[in-house]
Amino acid sequence: MAKKIETLLLEFAKIHRFLMRFFREVVSPPFEFKEIIRQCYEIGWKSFPLISLTGFIVGFVFTKQSRPSLEDFGATSWLPNLISIAIVRALAPLVTALIASGKVGSQIGAELSSMNVTEQIDAMEVSGTNPFKFLIASRILATTLMIPVLCFYVAGIGLAGGYLSIISKDQLSILSFITQVFESITAKDVFAMVFRAVVFGFTIGFVSTYVGYYSTKGTEGVGKAANAAVVASMFIVFIEELLIVQILALIG
């Protein structure tokens, strides 16, 4: 038991050192702009097809499933208000984070871990490049920047899916739909969405780079790192969602 507690505490200390090093590297020159842009492209742009499909389906299905409840009260005209609040406040950041954990997290975890196994990270270190700055800081920054962008996109495409679901049964002009959406959501909702997305983006980047960088040697280590990146990111994202909801409720 004491051994387990010691291992856990040592792991926390390692995580703390990793976090502090990230903040130190991120503010000290030289800055890896080119690599950050490349990672934004890899993480952001290459996720668009998958995120478009899932965002659209979530919006469409959520609207379809919400309709019967509102129909009971003759309130289907409230559907745009309901889905816009649900998508902006909860679904968009959460769906984006979960999809990104699966796609981006596993990719980063496996990539860094295989670089570790094949000594590519050591090769970078001995050839005068700071691998932490080049590989780790750039990826964490890219996920922190791109997840909010993807989140806005998911919100938009989710609302489009919701609109299509509504007009499959009711008559509603796109202008009326957009008006209702903007009447329902407040600046605070948008701020909360961006805040969530930034936190989730940082988490996905941090967790997946951490498990990849400290993966065990061997091919088994690569598989474990990819798996741990997805599982740990998703788990922490849910915990953060729970905490953020409570904090925002307290703030009002």
Partner: protein, 258 residues
């Protein structure tokens, strides 16, 4: 077998001094109070059984690991006391050829070679970078692979490209980790010739980690044998194996099929 040319070694000028260094991993004592010198323009072969700490030694020299005791002097600097920035600058003078080449597999051969160059010599023009890359690749006889991906190369070609990538920064010291491991005998001979060629052309001092005695005989000016965490036998190849020590004899017997 191609004979090694005579290189003028300055035995008064040690470029590396591993000064009474110890290193352990948990209860495993890998290096025990090790003392070793690499002289200017010398090829020093480090022999030893697998898991005896040969690779640990060169990782300590390049600052990838820190010793538990003792100091490591490289080109007048004490590696284990250097700050990160100073260590990074020193590393530019040390070439490190990894056992599995450690080529960046998301980059082409050209990009692999450009990577250390563009990051450490930021004032070079595109034409200068291209010339450097092509010259070094031509030097290892693999200019034709310039646009290939590492996955398309053979083991021997990967080793050569790995060596070329370290040479592009014109290091003073080269460290080869198992340069002939996993290669066929003909390719081994090619790699050994390349190591000698690097010593002559680039005027480097090198540490070669291996358990291939043919390699040791062909490239080594001196051989140091790591036994039970210590360098118990250091000298010319013929001196090292002139012994009845049961820890040393099987090496010779196996490699030369006595």
């Amino acid at each position: 077998m191609e004979q090694k040319k005579n290189v003028e070694i300055d035995y008064n000028d040690a470029v590396i001094h591993v000064d009474h260094v110890s290193k352990s991993f948990g209860d495993l004592h890998v290096l025990r109070d090790v003392d070793l010198k690499l002289y200017n323009r010398e090829n020093l072969v480090v022999l030893g059984r697998s898991g005896t700490g040969k690779s640990v030694l060169i990782k300590l020299i390049s600052g990838l690991l820190k010793p538990d005791a003792g100091d490591i002097h490289v080109l007048g600097e004490v590696v284990n006391h250097l700050k990160e920035k100073e260590l990074r600058e020193l590393r530019l003078r040390i070439g490190f050829s990894f056992q599995n080449s450690a080529l960046y597999d998301s980059m082409t051969v050209r990009e692999n070679l450009e990577f250390p160059l563009v990051r450490n010599k930021r004032n070079l023009t595109r034409a200068e970078i291209n010339k450097e890359v092509e010259d070094v690749l031509d030097g290892v006889g693999l200019l034709r692979t310039i646009n290939q991906m590492p996955s398309e190369l053979s083991g021997g070609q990967r080793k050569r490209i790995g060596i070329a990538r370290t040479l592009i920064l014109r290091p003073d010291i080269m460290m080869y980790d198992e340069p002939t491991a996993g290669l066929d005998p003909i390719t081994c001979l090619d790699i050994n010739s390349l190591i000698n060629e690097v010593q002559e052309r680039y005027k480097t001092s090198s540490i070669i980690i291996t358990h291939d005695l043919a390699c040791a005989k062909m490239v080594g000016d001196r051989v140091a044998m790591l036994l039970d965490g210590r360098f118990e036998r250091v000298g010319k190849f013929s001196e090292i194996f002139d012994t009845e020590d049961e820890r040393v004899k099987p090496f010779y017997d196996y490699n030369f099929i006595v």
